[in-house]
Symmetry: C2
Subunit: 326 residues, 2 copies
């Protein structure tokens, strides 16, 4: 009996410029680039044990054996890893999140980032960070952005090997904080993978994509200059543009709940009053309220006083995906 085990930790990330729609759905090559930062404190920890005695892959999420579509997606991913390694050996995967699933925090990003590193290391692959971002992308597009440190840009590319992500500034570069205002704990009706396939049914998607490089340039520059105001306007525009595409696709995807609107409107008022704060929303009803460490407690109190918010998660800028002791 041979067992090869590795364990990795990865953070979820919040996109400031969003990923929505693929030009290659199988390879998850996106139609436009995106920029995000990792969320510290929140993480997925995944242990992968390749075991010559196993006759199939087994998956445990938070201690519960998982089958069905969750398992299939992991098996498909492990097939890619096995193909690269040239080894036929099955694995037991134990994955744990320290944050609830379906709360607007992309658990698939941290899950596939951690799985990529743990699986590739356990099976004996020695791959670069760039290659690891490509591998993670195959499991979940946004997982590529959870691999590098801090603030990360994912270049869309055209092929499997040139659609990769890099750190554009380390986690210590700018003390941003993401306050995730949880509006609903309901699991989203249309997941991101299915949603990406709908992007092209919106008459607005091509215009969103054509304008993406402009938005990426402004946000990349704003991060480098730590220019909150320049970042804020573009981050909100980009979030609104993605939701504009979602709500004009067929069928229409309306992820916003009534409290989401109240939060977005309040955030705009708070910023107009001089506070560095902006909002962004992923494919769900919860609102990510971005501010600086200095204003984090202030904004937390303002959010806490609003009705309709069930919970607030707070995260600073997080580090890269890394191996830990088994």
């Amino acid at each position: 009996m041979k067992i090869f085990t590795s364990t990795a930790i990865a953070h979820p990330n919040i996109a400031l410029i969003k990923y929505w729609g693929n030009k290659n759905q199988i390879l998850r090559i996106p139609v436009n680039g995106s920029i995000s930062f990792n969320l510290d404190r929140l993480f997925t920890k995944t242990q992968v044990s390749f075991d010559s005695e196993l006759t199939a892959d087994i998956l445990f999420i938070n201690g519960i054996e998982t089958t069905g579509s969750g398992l299939s997606r992991v098996v498909s991913f492990l097939n890619i890893v096995r193909e690269i390694a040239g080894k036929q050996i099955f694995a037991q995967v134990n994955s744990e999140n320290n944050f609830p699933v379906g709360t607007g925090i992309a658990s698939s990003a941290s899950a596939f980032a951690a799985l990529s590193l743990a699986a590739s290391n356990a099976i004996g692959l020695n791959i670069s960070e760039k290659e690891l971002t490509c591998l993670a992308r195959r499991g979940s597009g946004s997982a590529s952005r959870s691999i590098p440190d801090g603030f990360v840009e994912w270049f869309p590319g055209e092929t499997d090997s040139d659609s990769f992500a890099v750190s554009i500034a380390p986690s210590t570069y700018w003390d941003l904080v993401d306050l995730v205002a949880v509006v609903s704990h309901e699991h989203k009706k249309v997941g991101s993978t299915a949603g990406h396939e709908l992007a092209n049914t919106s008459p607005l998607q091509s215009a969103r994509v054509e304008d993406a490089n402009r938005r990426l340039d402004i946000v990349r520059k704003a991060i480098i200059n730590r220019d909150f105001q320049a970042m804020a306007e573009m981050v909100e525009l980009d979030s609104n543009m993605m939701h504009a595409v979602m709500m004009t696709s067929s069928p229409a995807l309306m992820y916003w709940e009534n409290t989401s609107i109240s939060i977005m409107k309040n955030v705009q008022k708070w910023r107009a009053s001089g506070i560095p704060v902006c909002y962004t929303m992923d494919a769900g009803p919860n609102v990510h309220v971005i501010t600086t460490k200095e204003y984090s407690e202030n904004i937390n109190q303002r959010l806490a006083s609003m009705s309709g918010i069930k919970q607030i998660f707070t995260a600073a800028v997080g580090g890269k995906t890394r191996l830990v002791e088994n």
Copy 2:
């Protein structure tokens, strides 16, 4: 002393395919065509008295003398009428709405439609309905659609004389009902005229405009066929597309309030359950819920049981702008 008086009544209208953005701001020549129906029971009644003893135009709205920007807009409009008629004579305008202003019901449409007919008739112009739609357009774009009967299409055109509106079906053709769910009585911060000027600052506006003929064709055909389902999907898509442009313009215009979202989501659920109902929103937070006469009371009760709705106006399909006794 010579006094020439005429009085006209005009209904507001609700656009099923929206007008947002002009290619000629002065002449109010829109970037895309639009389709609407008039709203019966709601109306503006306007009396215009050209009086050789007046030294300036005077405006009374609901019995109160109005100056400032409200008066200037009417004076500018009367200047056009005077120029066409070749007469230099000032007017007293008495305008009354039987519905509150700033409730998401476009009072400028019915106001300028009624003013167009009353003023042109009083000053002795004998113009066709088509010409009247062009004249009304100069006061407020959507006023052109309040001139003809029932269901109306406004062709965008390129010049003052070919940007006109026609009835595509009479008011008796299809027994639709508009239930206007009033979410907020606050006067909108950015009016339509200013909003139209912002349309081009959205990266999504050109895509919205390019797709407009497709949407117009589908809705025109759906009206002719009295096909609620085909109309419903396109009406909601078109409303979402206009708000997508609004919320991605600079500065962003977010007209939706939290209750607006709740209503839109409920309407979609109700339609999914088999009821012919759809929503559309103009440049304000209130939601126009469109259904058929058969389901009108049912939908009214459903809306009345929701929280956050301050008032519900109900209107069937209305007739054309017409002269009445002074």
